[in-house]
């Protein structure tokens, strides 16, 4: 975020609270360019030369790492039962410290129901069995020889944003804690359809029970339709072999479906006639509604967005020009538009989407903004190509039992105080 000394009277507004026309971005770039020409171009003998500019740098290394000064960019770890059950652990992507749309592999969110297993890739295998003509198994060497596809997709835990869903008062924390259980990756792997067709699915095979090689052998029933349409056996994450946290050496990828179904450390695909009501689809990943009944097999994630810059825990560096930027996504195809409000939802302006806008992938939006220093509320509201739109929190809460924290996709308001503090609020 940068301040500018531009005269606010000359600005072109798109909505209340200082939201600027998207054209203003280009205009301010042009103004900056012109200002540059006025600087003296003479070299200055007295200017400081930093020591790294007067020395040879470090030698090449086999695997790079982030700059030492960036060591605070970490996932936020949540261990709900701490030392009682440390293997049940989560960590959230620090979206407020990142830009772009791809989540660095080391910062991809984690939800572990029984810890991160240490798998010997040479002994790992994928089994396809049940209602198939030819029960088959594959090792990693063999899978490496299959034609692969590449696709960028988000993964989101059904419990992402759980604190906003259930806490009576808004929790003051960063985007890592509040919305960190969503990440975006370029995956490469084998279309599931190719492997299923090799095994030969029998006509009565309508579901696939996928299981991991982790301690709890996490299992989910998945409709055959999804497996065959865009299911992927993912082997690579952002160009390198999948990280242990994300399922090394292989995971199931079901674009747009809740994270829990995208079985990590995948070892078995058992073709059945019907879902088998595994533990997760019996309780933990069901939603209790306001009337006490429950939803089961809620697979796709809803349309959602939040502003990353500025966001909760940040401090504004005084009135002036800023770029509002954030992330939007939907389990149903592409994001169609994202609206931004800087007056608590009274008026809205459409943000610019950074292309290409990909299906079931994080999409970055932005809008220039002139903050005049007065307190206000920022929010973003995403729409997808099916016409679905994010609800206000009160509408979302009204649908569900008070305890439900799954599939929360309400609008996120950030309060900006006169002092420049950015805080989580409910509206």
């Amino acid at each position: 975020m940068t301040r500018s000394t531009k005269d606010s009277a000359a600005l072109e507004y798109a909505a209340g609270g200082g939201l600027l026309s998207r054209r203003m971005l280009l205009a301010s770039a042009a103004a900056g360019g012109a200002a540059g020409l006025l600087q003296p171009s003479m070299a200055r003998a007295e200017a400081e030369i930093p020591e790294w500019t007067k020395a040879a740098g470090a030698r090449a290394r086999g695997y790079g790492a982030p700059a030492a000064a960036e060591s605070a960019v970490q996932r936020a770890i949540i261990e709900p039962w701490q030392d009682v059950a440390p293997a049940f652990s989560l960590s959230g992507t620090p979206h407020h410290k990142l830009r772009g749309t791809i989540t660095p592999s080391g910062l991809h969110y984690e939800v572990h129901h029984g810890g991160r297993p240490d798998i010997d890739p040479a002994r790992h295998r994928l089994m396809i069995h049940g209602l198939v003509e030819r029960p088959l198994q594959f090792d990693l060497d063999v899978l490496e020889r299959y034609p692969m596809v590449t696709a960028t997709h988000f993964l989101e835990c059904a419990g992402n944003s759980l604190f906003n869903a259930v806490m009576p008062e808004p929790m003051q924390a960063g985007c890592d804690m509040l919305h960190g259980l969503v990440s975006n990756t370029e995956w490469a792997g084998i279309p599931m359809r190719v492997l299923m067709e090799e095994a030969g699915v029998k006509p009565e095979g309508k579901w696939v029970v996928a299981a991991g090689a982790d301690g709890p052998s996490l299992a989910r029933s998945i409709p055959m339709e999804k497996i065959m349409s865009d299911g992927m056996l993912a082997l690579y994450q952002n160009g390198e072999r999948i990280r242990p946290e994300q399922g090394y050496p292989m995971r199931l990828l079901l674009p747009g479906f809740e994270g829990n179904m995208n079985i990590k450390w995948l070892t078995s695909l058992w073709v059945t006639e019907a879902p088998v009501h595994t533990k997760d689809e019996s309780g933990e990943y069901t939603e209790i509604l306001a009337d006490g009944s429950s939803l089961q097999f809620t697979f796709a994630m809803g349309v959602k967005s939040f502003i990353t810059h500025p966001s909760s825990t940040m401090t504004m560096s005084g009135p002036g020009f800023y770029e509002i930027s954030g992330l939007a996504w939907t389990g149903s195809g592409k994001v169609a538009k994202v609206e931004v409000s800087a007056d608590g939802g009274t008026s809205w302006a459409e943000g610019a989407l950074a292309g290409p806008v990909l299906p079931q992938a994080l999409t970055r939006f932005s809008l220039p903004w002139h903050w005049d220093g007065s307190p206000l509320v920022l929010m973003s509201r995403a729409w997808d190509e099916t016409g679905a739109v994010q609800p206000p929190r009160a509408d979302w809460k009204a649908r569900y039992h008070a305890s439900n924290f799954l599939h929360y996709n309400a609008i996120q308001p950030w309060q900006v105080t006169a002092e420049g503090a950015v805080q989580n609020v409910y509206l």
Binding site: W81, V84, A87, H113, G114, M127, I128, G130, P135, L136, Q137, F138, V142, R145, Y146, P147, I190, V194, L195, E197, E198, A199, A211, G215, P216, S217, A219, P223, K226, G256, F257, S268, W270, T272, V276, H277, T278, K279, S282, G283, T286, E287, I288, G292, S293, S294, L295, Q296, F297, T298, F299, A300, G302, G331, S332, T386, H401, S403, H407, N409
Partner: protein, 173 residues
Amino acid sequence: MSIFKCTATAALLLTAAAARAEGPGLGQPLEAADIPFYATYVTPEGTGLPAGSGTAAQGAEIYAAKCATCHGATGSEGPVMPPVGPNDIWAKPAGSYWPYATTLFDYIRRAMPLEAPKSLSDDEVYALAAYILERNGVIDEQTAMTAETLPAVKMPNHGNFLDVWTKQGAKPW
């Protein structure tokens, strides 16, 4: 190359592709004996349940030794997702909320206790399922859980679930 030759080559290529179903066809045959139990799941009808039996009284002892530290002294105290309800911690206690009792057997057998999954005998797992169901008031103290009795247990919350996939497919709720 004549048009005839072209078509013939194309046809040949197509046949080869169909036979390989788009992949190189490198999967190895999988024998039934090489499929571990956790690669399947006990179904609501009880398919996949092994021989064995256990009562709530037997389960109480195993529970106290191997489960209570995480799930609470009698199953309703927690801190971790107490399987006995109602309780103040978890709105979905496994022993009363889940639609099928068979899931208790399968899940405990594959996943619990957290630090030593797959260490329980089938009799122990039946006994633990019996204990959790009895504590929830779903079965009585005498009935042993077996491959026959467990699938016959009628869960109180069964029938209170709406299947969103069947109703509207991938459209989010």
